[in-house]
């Protein structure tokens, strides 16, 4: 181990010794203060690998590089005005400002400085910065950057950075008509491997400008392959959007499915339960001290559940209970409840959207292959799965779940067996509403928190329940996935609005075949 460290040390030291002499020459060129010499010096500095090259170039560009006429040395000032020796990087105290003479630059030198700094970041110790620099070269495909790219490529060890450099080199070679044909053909296959929107447009450009038939044919076949690859990734991306939409639909609809299944009534105020959950998130976030902001959503989940469940329980106790056996009237009464809740929230919080910020781990996105995956969406999918599993466990494993299923299947028989259907109704409604509250926490991350938040989801949620049936939660899951995927896959083809209309028509036709949804309860009752 020690030997390896030693070897590394020796390598570093010898490398710095190797360029020490070169650096002296370069700095001497700067001291001549003639434009052609300065240009040469910039180019040398860019490839020298000197540790302070970037600092010097930066200083030169900002007119902070000076010739100390007294000591015959090159110095630079930092932005705060301290003077440093350009060669040794040592701080020079008490330098007389009148002795300092600026190294002059003009516009063409400035662009040379910019290019040099760009190629220097190709040698940045941070892998991310190197990749960024390589991408910048790929986009600009400036032929002057080719030596720097090739130098960087030779010493690059990180595979991702290496790939990015290869692409940058390919982009330069393929667009430069003076580069050899073999190189350009090789570059085309490099671009083909990259297979994204940028390489497609680059290949298109090559095809337009190509003077050589072989090159043109190669570029054309590469473009076809890139395009089919892109189409595939596009499909996968849409599938991902679909899964994401499905998770939101599942969260919003699953509570509705429970109340509808158990009580046979449709809760038109369900969307407002979602809205209350989102506002609960907002309140929790504004009450928490900033240092807790990472945990705001985790704290919001139980709070939103509790708030919505309590409101749901109140609605059940004071309204729905008295409308038992009159599902259509229940629908109207809960619509009234939804209007009151909306107005109440509008009065309390104002009609404007409220801002709910995402904790750091939920914001941003990361690439996966050709996919762009939003972290927030990923967490929502995880939450939806978690809620689904938890609900299944409650329904299958607990005595409450057993009773609830009994009431769903045959209310009167369950009542005859001694189950208090009244209490089950109350708790089922609270549970369904509470889950809507959890959905509200999720929606606060991807939608505007406004009094109208719930209305946007209510019809879609109903469609999920109609499609899935009330027999069991798997139906809801299937309904949500089918609707979410179908919506997002149709959207790019026929547009968002037409996709929605088409789906609604399909559902209307679907219930011709299965009036009670995919997973209907089996029983001998003529009417539900």
């Amino acid at each position: 181990m020690i030997r390896r460290w030693l070897a590394l040390l020796i390598f570093v030291v010898s490398a710095s010794l190797a360029y020490a002499d070169g650096l002296d020459d370069t700095l001497a060129r700067f001291q001549q203060d003639k434009f052609p010499e300065t240009a040469k010096a910039i180019a040398e500095l860019a490839v020298s690998g000197a540790p302070n090259a970037a600092v010097l170039l930066d200083a030169l560009g900002d007119n902070r590089l000076f010739i100390d006429a007294g000591a015959h040395q090159l110095v630079y000032k930092t932005a705060s005005g301290d003077v440093f020796n350009a060669k040794t990087n040592e701080k020079l105290p008490g330098v007389d400002d009148s002795n300092l003479k600026k190294v002059r630059v003009n516009n063409s030198l400035r662009s040379a400085i910019d290019a040099a700094i760009g190629s220097l970041s190709l040698a940045n110790p941070d892998v991310g910065k190197r990749i960024g620099a390589a991408e910048a070269v790929f986009k600009s495909r400036d032929a002057k950057a080719l030596p720097a790219v090739e130098a960087a490529l030779a010493r690059e060890t990180d595979p991702r950075a290496k790939a990015a450099l290869e692409f940058a080199r390919g982009a330069i070679l393929v667009t430069n008509s003076s580069s050899p044909l073999a190189d350009r053909l090789a570059a085309i296959s490099t671009l083909k491997a990259r297979a994204d929107q940028d390489s497609a447009s680059l290949l298109g450009e090559v095809i337009d400008k190509a003077d050589n038939p072989e090159l043109k044919a190669a570029a054309q076949s590469a473009l076809v392959s890139v395009k089919s690859n892109l189409a595939l990734w596009n499909l996968v991306q849409n599938l991902w959007y679909g899964v994401s939409a499905s998770s939101v639909l599942l969260l919003a609809a699953i509570g509705l499915a429970i109340t509808f299944g158990v009580m046979g009534v449709i809760n038109m105020a369900h969307g407002e339960m979602v809205m209350l959950g989102a506002y609960a998130t907002f309140v929790v976030q504004s009450l928490l001290p900033p240092s807790w902001s990472q945990w705001s959503l985790a704290i919001s989940l139980p709070v939103a559940f509790a708030v919505s469940a309590c409101v749901g329980m109140l609605i059940e106790r004071f309204v729905i209970r008295f409308l038992y056996g009159r599902p259509l009237e229940t629908l109207l009464a809960t619509w009234g409840v939804s209007l009151i809740l909306q107005q109440a929230v509008r009065t309390l919080f104002g009609a404007n959207n409220r801002q709910v910020t995402a904790p750091a781990f939920m914001s941003g996105s990361f690439p996966l292959g050709g996919l762009e995956i939003g972290s927030g969406r990923l967490w929502i999918i995880a939450l939806a799965i978690l809620v689904f599993v938890a609900l299944q466990l409650v329904l299958r494993m607990t005595s409450f779940g057993l009773r609830m299923r009994a009431v769903t299947q045959n209310r009167r028989m369950a009542s005859a067996m001694g189950i208090s259907t009244d209490l089950i109704d109350m708790f089922a409604f609270a549970l369904g509403s509470g889950i809507a509250g959890i959905a509200g926490v999720a929606l606060s991350q991807i939608d505007n928190v406004s009094p109208n938040l719930g209305q946007g989801y209510i019809i879609d949620s109903f469609m999920v329940v109609v499609l899935g049936g009330v027999g069991n939660l798997w139906g809801t899951l299937l309904g949500a996935v089918v609707l979410g995927l179908a919506n997002k896959l149709l959207e790019p083809i026929i547009g968002a609005v037409l996709a929605k209309i088409l789906l609604l028509v399909c559902i209307i036709l679907f219930i011709q075949k299965r009036p009670r949804g995919l997973f209907a309860l089996k029983g001998r009752a003529v009417e539900a």
Binding site: F260, G264, V265, I266, V319, F322, L323, R326, P327, L328, E329, T330, L331, L332, A333, W335, G336, V337, S338, L339, I340, L341, Q342, Q343, A344, R346, T347, I459, F462, M463, V466, V497, L498, K500, I501, L504, V505, I507, I508, L509, I511, Q512, K513, P515, R516, V526, E527, A528
Partner: protein, 411 residues
Amino acid sequence: MENQITRLDWLGRAFVGLCVVVAVAVPVLALLPDKNSAFFVPPYVVALLGKYICFAILAVALDLVWGYCGILSLGHGAFFALGGYAMGMYLMRQIGARGVYANPILPDFMVFLNWKELPVAWWGFNHFAYAGVMILFVPGVLAFAFGWFAFRSRVTGVYLSIITQALTYALKLAFFRNDFGFGGNNGLTDFKDIFGANVQSDATRAALFSASILALAGAYVLSKAIVSSKYGKTLIAIRDSESRVRFLGYRVENFKLFVFVVSAMMAGIAGALYVPQVGIINPSEFDPGNSIEAVIWVAVGGRGTLVGAALGALIVNYSKTFLTGGGLMWIGALLDPVLNYLPGSIGRIIRLFVDTLTGPEGWTAALGLLFILVTLFLPKGILGLFLDTARHNAPAKAAAPAPAPAEEAHS
């Protein structure tokens, strides 16, 4: 028709009579008296009343399917709006070359969208005869197609309600699209003429009002005729126990389909009369909220009474105008002497709360409360409650045996 009117019960006769009287009286009072006279009905009142009457027709149509057949349609606003669009298209074609772009054939929005030819859907709408047929035909065909699928597969109850809501939602989305060809977001507006008369003039407004209220009377007589017939008895039986009627050998779906289509056409007529009086039709008329609001009119007035439905539409809409106009804002000021004695800012908060409730925004909450209270405490609506009381008192006074069944038998 004459025959039907003589067969109406006292309530029906009173209603039709009132309609005819108002149909004559309001235009007369709007046009003849001096503007400062106490009997003068200002034009804005005529327009407002006309709007209410159109809503009343919609309510009667809805009561026909909900009150008598148990079909709770949450999409009747769609039929209303479709009728309105058919009328709006006729009115758009009447503008002719007087539009902003002065194109004699194409309405302004089509010129704006750079369309060169009139879409097929718009052909013929320059003739009122064609537009009039479409006002009935379009809602009727939609209701037929929808009902055909829904009733045959025995979609009932809340499922049906939700699907009707989805229907109007889908139409709303479609009509919002510019390329759908009906004016998109802005809808159809800037009307000039109807039958060659200025749509804005007082005389035209008065005539439209009369037409509306006569249409209301007509809708009522037709609905009453339907529900009093043998066919109507079957409808009521379906409402009360659908499967039993089916087991007796009736084709339930056909009964439902007929009444649904008739009701949709009535709603279409209501929409057609509504559009020239308010001067605009846009996709927000398809909003599911509007359709549910129409249901609450029927519930407030009394479902299954027809007259009650019309009454409910008038009461709720008048309340809406009254409350959104700040009709109760004085309550806050009235409370001030008491509130000023309360410690701290409690008084101010209560005042703010009262002001919000009585102010224009409070209407939403009031409407919500109305939904809850009516369904909980007034399941038969205002008229239902009134009739019940009347029936309850009748035997005590006249000692007539079982008046309720007797009344049904001869009505």
